[in-house]
Symmetry: C2
Subunit: 152 residues, 2 copies
């Protein structure tokens, strides 16, 4: 993407839809073993006896996957300078083996930095949905983005 | 942990310190390739030319690692029923290959569920620190926990 996508290209209200990705049992257990080894993330027998009635994905996993789906759209490739943080993250419904997630990202705010006018802050509202149309996760992330270079 | 740790055992103001874990370059790049393939997470040459001056860990990686360090303390093993979400997450300083993170977790709030008195909500403030004592991440997570069974 030689001409790229920069701060100026994010318009409040713009919505970006991603492709889908299916969370396999293997991926759920592998992530759980590495970062979130609670029984309902790593042990199918214990998970069946839990309030969830079966294995569910770690919320850190679904959040990271949702971000990955958005990253794959390429809109941050030329301009991302990192992020100060996540405003609010909600895990709204369990994500189970075989579920396919897609992510919708909406531009909530966009403002140029006053101290460094070659940069801007863009607030994105992410929501992840499963194959039934249920929203499983929402999160608001502030992104620090570069502005379009003068020669571009 | 046959007698376990339950909702009643979390006291507001209580602080839990974890052991440390070192983030290797391999771990940073592997996580980046899987979930957050931005140049400063996966490409040492591009990262050197980025504002960070070198490779840094994905914030999703450091958040998940911080939680893993807390999980390893065992306090959620008997009682965790999941979480509705993260209130606020801040990435305060870059985490670089070779950095060792430790996590401090403080009990901010604890209240029994009114609708389901066998459960409670405990709010934990997590902060991760590197080997220099810099705070690299803070996050507030609400946990849904089981209360101590009557026969325990």
């Amino acid at each position: 993407m030689s001409d790229g996508h920069y701060f100026e290209d994010f318009q409040v209200g713009q919505r970006i839809e991603t492709r889908g990705a299916t969370l396999t049992e293997a991926a759920i257990v592998d992530f759980g073993l590495q970062f979130d080894p609670q029984p309902f993330h790593i042990d199918t027998a214990a998970a069946a006896d839990s309030p969830y009635g079966g294995l569910i994905a770690s919320g850190f996993h679904t959040a990271a996957l949702c971000f990955r789906l958005f990253i794959d759209q390429g809109l941050l490739a030329s301009c991302s300078l990192g992020s100060p943080g996540i405003e609010k993250l909600r895990w709204l419904a369990p994500v189970r083996p075989g579920d396919t997630l897609r992510c919708t990202t909406e531009v909530a705010e966009a403002r140029r930095s006053e101290s460094t006018p070659t940069r801007g802050l863009v607030t994105l509202d992410y929501s992840a949905h499963n194959q039934h149309g249920d929203t499983v996760l929402t999160m608001r992330i502030v992104h620090l983005l570069g502005c379009r270079p003068a020669d571009n």
